[in-house]
């Protein structure tokens, strides 16, 4: 019985860990998208393009 309960607990924990890992996918995508869209104009210090990049990003949400 002890073994069964431990197994059930372990499965539950593993499921929670899988869910945790899966949830990072969409957040990583969000961050990658932000960096990709905003980093270049910012690095170029092109004020108009920074402004335009922020506006375009927000329009596309």
């Amino acid at each position: 019985m002890q073994g069964k309960r431990e197994m059930a607990e372990r499965i539950e924990r593993l499921e929670a860990e899988v869910a945790e890992l899966r949830r990072h996918q969409v957040r990583l995508a969000e961050l990658a998208d932000l960096v990709q869209e905003l980093l270049i104009p910012m690095a170029q210090r092109d004020e108009e393009r920074v402004e335009a990049a922020i506006a375009r990003l927000q329009d596309g949400l």
């Binding site: 949830r23 996918q25 969409v26 932000l34 922020i54």
Partner: protein, 531 residues
């Protein structure tokens, strides 16, 4: 076809009245259409959607759906007809409510268009009621969007009900109300599929369409029909990995790439569209082996595995937003939410008492803009944020009429891209001309989820640095709260704000009905500042 597939037979309908339908159901399940004055309004399964009304379980009852109730006034001819066989089970006149003489039951929307219940239980102008000319603009939009997506690198095709209609009948399903496109990405991991979906949405926006994101892998395009009504064209992303196909929002199954690519064609309302290489395979994966048998009351039975995977990979970008859209759409949030009204010792009054006029107020979770307009009238420039920005339409109109310093913007605490791009935008604006800033957040912490609460902390840390203050109020757990609120202790709120760099300058709790709190529930109030 003469009968439903498993030989379902209904002995008879025994009663149709103001409450609903009573029938004797024998044998396997079958789907029945309810026609009001010859128009199909609703469909239901005689076993799945009914409740047992006697001990044998053979006599069953189903109530008219709640969404139908507001329309049920007047006299009407009700016909109940088996969808597949066409067998009529009932035909008779019935009067609902206390109508004017000669009044008929009508199902029309605000624009005067005939509406019926679609498969998700919503009233909309379903395809069966639209003329070919009405649908031409939707077909045009589908072609244009497919073209935009192709140029952006994905091959889209009609999916879900739209593919089913095309393959089975060569037209839109009569009881369907929106059109769906799908594509199978060349990427094999969710993170890349989501990034691609973001990029595709921008391409569609650049092409001049209005859009709305549902999740990391699906968004809607607004298609304008011939008579000006707006119909949703949903774009669902999918991917193949390790022999499985996942397609947002219902499919996860063993699948071969050759069943998708290279794309073939299908015909829809006389036009040629792309289709999966073997569309029957996708339809079977979507609707099960009986997909050829019409079912206007179809409900997805997505497996737990698929649902969990899709939820965890792609969803969580707008928690509870649909509920709020419904509440604001239906006007259920009540009169007390009207812009400019405030009662008791409100949080807005606290800001007015403590802050210099001219201080910029960011009202996060502004709802209908009740506090935002009140503050703007007292000389505080206000930016009212909500993830249902439509709710602020009336407040924005008042602000224009009264020439108030007010702006309504969209902000979603569950979406980092929204939060961080808005933080960046504000940082740029105040870099040009620094303005003292405060955040007003009334019943926001207790209405969002854990991720959203952290989102507010992040937003405060980005926008209040240099001495700005956050004013927040929430339900602390006693009394009868407004619907949709989660109780939070003062410790929980303080802990979270401190984790994001806030310093607590004041914290209070008011019991229900105590001085300064006219509400029937207890509230906490905090002021925190950022260095």
């Amino acid at each position: 076809m003469t009968a439903s597939p498993r030989g379902a037979r209904i002995a008879r309908v025994t009663g149709v009245d103001q409450d609903g339908v009573r029938l004797l159901a024998v044998g396997a399940d079958a789907v029945v259409d309810a026609l009001f004055d010859d128009r199909r309004i609703w469909s239901f399964w005689v076993r799945r959607d009914t409740e047992r009304a006697d001990r044998t379980g053979l006599v069953r009852h189903v109530a008219w759906p709640a969404v139908m109730r507001p329309h049920l006034r007047g006299t009407t001819r009700i016909v109940l007809r088996e969808h597949v066989s066409g067998r009529v089970l009932h035909d008779g006149e019935l009067t609902f409510g206390d109508p004017e003489p000669g009044e008929r039951v009508r199902f029309v929307n605000k624009r005067g268009l005939d509406i019926a219940l679609d498969k998700s239980g919503r009233f909309s102008p379903v395809f069966g009621e639209r003329t070919a000319a009405d649908l031409e603009p939707l077909l045009d939009t589908m072609e244009q969007v497919i073209d935009v997506l192709a140029r952006a690198g994905v091959e889209a095709f009609p999916a879900y009900g739209t593919l089913l209609g095309a393959v089975r009948e060569g037209r839109f399903l009569g009881h369907d109300s929106d059109a769906d496109l799908g594509y199978v990405s060349r990427h094999t991991t969710p993170v890349d599929v989501v990034r691609e979906s973001f990029r595709l949405q921008r391409a569609v926006v650049d092409a001049g369409f209005g859009t709305y994101r549902y999740s990391g892998a699906a968004f809607r395009v607004a298609a304008i029909e011939g008579d000006g009504s707006v119909r949703g064209l949903d774009v669902f992303g999918g991917f193949l990995d390790g022999g499985r196909l996942y397609l947002m929002g219902e499919i996860g199954t063993e699948f071969e790439e050759s069943w998708i690519r290279p794309l073939g064609t299908c015909e829809l309302a006389g036009r040629r569209f792309p289709a999966p290489a073997v569309p029957e395979r996708l339809l079977e994966a979507t609707y099960g082996p009986s997909w050829r048998v019409p079912d206007p009351a179809f409900k997805f039975e997505t497996s737990e595995r698929t649902r969990d995977s899709l939820n965890q990979w792609f969803r969580g970008l707008a928690v509870h937003r649909q509920e709020w859209e419904r509440r604001y759409g239906a006007g259920q949030a009540g009169q007390k939410g009207q812009p400019g009204t405030t009662t008791g010792r409100s949080l807005a009054k606290e800001i007015a008492a403590r802050e210099q006029p001219g201080t910029r107020v960011l009202d996060v979770g502004a709802g209908r803009g009740r506090d935002a307009i009140w503050l703007a009238r007292r000389g505080f420039p206000v930016t009212a944020y909500d993830y249902v920005p439509r709710a602020l339409t009336r407040a924005a109109r008042i602000a224009v009429e009264e020439e108030l310093p007010f702006e309504a913007r969209s902000l979603n605490l569950d979406e980092w891209r929204s939060l961080m791009s808005e933080g960046a935008r504000l940082a740029r604006a105040s870099d040009a001309a620094p303005v003292p800033t405060v955040i007003h957040a009334r019943h926001l912490l207790d209405a969002t989820d854990t991720f959203g609460r952290s989102g507010l902390g992040r937003f405060a840390a980005m926008t209040l640095r240099g001495g700005g203050r956050l004013y927040a109020e929430w339900w602390t757990g006693r009394g009868e709260p407004e619907p949709g609120l989660t109780a939070l202790s003062a410790e929980q709120v303080v802990g979270r704000l401190e984790r994001f760099g806030g310093r607590i300058t004041s914290i209070e709790e008011f019991e229900a009905g105590a001085r300064g709190n006219a509400r029937p529930f207890s509230v906490g109030r905090v002021i925190a500042s950022w260095a």
